[in-house]
């Protein structure tokens, strides 16, 4: 109850922003922008959830996180290309199956790349933030070049499944169908993460490790193995985020991960470093404000997320839902 009393203002922030936006635009516009903001928020959550867990548990600042988003996006492009007949079929089941295969393939590829990255590079810089920043920024550059070598320098088209194209009308507002899929997947992943973290022994260990790694080891658990698992899961989630973003944009460039990295870090900082619930709340908040400001004051759109982060940190210096340490 005490926790809820502390957290409710932070949890109410995104709904409050949505309600505040309602009087300054007509209802159909508000519905369309809110749906767009929620979908963007869910995709940002998918991309950022792994980063916040990796920081919270492992104390690793992974500036190469965007590379796993890019990898996921390119894998999506390849899978959707290979499954063109499913993607192009006017059949929801086949369309969703194609998307599911892309999600699974991207998660596997990004997770495998994450394993190699953790074993090869990250484990050498545990506890050293400066080295982590230098080596992961370098890793990001190398990964981007490797992706260019594999997929070429030209932007790659990504097929959006036929039945997920276009919009449907809700109270006079056009809502893109694909955005519903993004919201559903985001909610599903959030629920799965909450269940894993709160109802399983692995989740218990992760939550304990986020608070006090040394004590987890003193209780007899080899936390380094947990580190590897969390890093792989975190990079796999980034890959899934990359798929959803690539299909949404219908075009992939090698810079997609780097472009998203700033937003992803803003989400993680707003939410509170290491906090999955905070990451979710932060992602929805960033998604909504980006869309509202983009409509109301397009010239301010570029800086609105930075301004949002500054305001949130002035109010709550450790983020919306910080972890107790």
């Amino acid at each position: 109850m005490r926790r809820l009393r502390q957290d409710w203002p932070a949890l109410a922030l995104a709904p409050a922003v949505a309600l505040l936006a309602l009087p300054v635009m007509d209802l159909p516009t508000w519905i369309a922008l809110t749906a767009a903001g929620a979908a963007m928020g869910m995709m940002l959550f998918l991309m950022a959830a792994g980063l916040t867990l990796i920081f919270g548990l492992m104390d690793v600042l992974n500036f190469a996180h965007g590379a796993f988003i890019t990898l996921g996006a390119y894998v999506a492009a390849s899978v959707m290309g290979a499954l063109a007949s499913w993607v192009g079929a006017d059949d929801l089941a086949r369309n969703l199956a194609a998307l599911a295969v892309a999600v699974l393939a991207a998660a596997a590829a990004a997770g495998a790349a994450g394993l190699v990255f953790e074993r090869g590079i990250i484990r050498r810089v545990y506890g050293a933030h400066l080295q982590q920043i230098l080596i992961t920024v370098g890793g990001m550059i190398v990964a981007e070049q490797l992706i260019l070598a594999a997929w070429g320098a030209q932007p790659v088209q990504v097929g959006k499944p036929v039945t997920l194209r276009g919009s449907f009308v809700l109270a006079g507002a056009a809502v893109e169908k694909y955005r519903l899929v993004a919201v559903a997947l985001g909610l599903l992943v959030f629920a799965a993460m909450q269940l894993t973290l709160n109802r399983t022994r692995i989740g218990l260990l992760v939550r304990a490790g986020v608070e006090n790694r040394e004590m987890v080891e003193a209780l007899g658990y080899r936390i380094r193995r947990l580190f590897i698992g969390v890093f792989v899961a975190g990079t796999a989630l980034a890959g899934i985020g990359g798929v959803m973003w690539a299909v949404y944009q219908e075009l992939v460039t090698a810079a997609v991960g780097a472009d998203m990295t700033i937003l992803v870090f803003i989400v993680v900082i707003i939410g509170g470093l290491g906090s999955v619930g905070g990451c979710f709340a932060g992602a929805v908040l960033v998604g909504l404000t980006t869309n509202y400001i983009g409509f109301l004051a397009p010239k301010l759109a570029l800086g609105s997320n930075i301004a949002l982060m500054v305001l949130v940190l002035l109010w709550r210096p450790r983020g919306l839902l910080p972890l107790a340490r």
Binding site: L204, E214, G220, Y221
Partner: protein
């Protein structure tokens, strides 16, 4: 005396960065007894405990547990030998409930109802706090959780670092009663303590450290009876802390 030694340190040196903290620690902890590690601030007591747990690596010397060497082993491997560690900071997971804190300490089989009842017999207040976030407890209750984690599973050795630090006298009295209950169960305990009333009430054996070395070993009773020795070793006498 050597036959029933559970933990033995011989000539243990520890460096932390460029600082040389332990300068050849020799220590024997006997099975079924409570060994009190005393000494002034900065004498190396906490470093000794952390070195035993593998949190700092011994740069020289031997650490044997139950006759087998453990120096150089990783902390989780040392803990799995049946050694529980209660750090000075208590190491409570504040976001987790009391039950989850205990569950983590209980190992893969989960919480055994009998052991849990044993914990509640020593710390009855924890029964009603079981589903409360540990971070919301008072300092004394947090220490009870920390000690409960050490005893919720059968251990061969419990290492406790300054359990009374920052606690109110009434809580210290409860902790003394709790450790006396553990002593009746013949639990082997190695404890660092600055509260001399607690040290005298609980200690069977005593080792006094100074400048990274053990400078005196013996029984607590002998030290308690010798004011001159106390003053020489600790700079004060136990009698003045009654």
């Amino acid at each position: 005396m050597s036959d029933d030694v559970l933990l033995r340190l011989a000539g243990v040196h520890t460096h932390i960065g460029r600082y040389h903290i332990l300068h050849g620690v020799d220590l024997a902890v006997r099975e079924g007894r409570l060994t009190m590690l005393l000494g002034r601030n900065g004498a190396g007591k906490t470093t000794t405990l952390r070195t035993v747990m593998g949190m700092w690596r011994a740069s020289a010397g031997l650490i044997d547990f139950a006759g087998a060497p453990i120096s150089g082993r990783a902390t989780p491997d040392i803990a799995r030998l049946g050694i529980a560690y209660v750090p000075e900071s208590m190491g409570i997971f504040g976001q987790l409930t009391v039950r989850e804190n205990l569950l983590l300490a209980a190992g893969p089989a989960g919480l055994h109802p009998g052991r849990l009842d044993g914990v509640f017999a020593i710390f009855p207040v924890l029964r009603e706090k079981l589903h409360q976030a540990a971070g919301t407890l008072s300092g004394g209750q947090k220490q009870m959780v920390a000690i409960s984690r050490a005893i919720v599973e059968e251990r061969r050795l419990i290492i406790v670092d300054e359990p009374t630090k920052g606690l109110a006298p009434a809580v210290i009295g409860q902790l003394i009663a709790a450790f006396q209950a553990l002593k009746r169960q013949r639990t082997t305990i190695l404890m660092v303590e600055q509260n001399f009333h607690m040290a005298q009430a609980l200690g069977d054996d005593v080792a006094v450290m100074d400048d990274g070395r053990v400078v005196h070993t013996g029984t607590m009773a002998d030290l308690a009876d010798d004011d001159a020795l106390q003053t020489r070793l600790l700079g004060l006498s136990l009698a003045s802390h009654q």
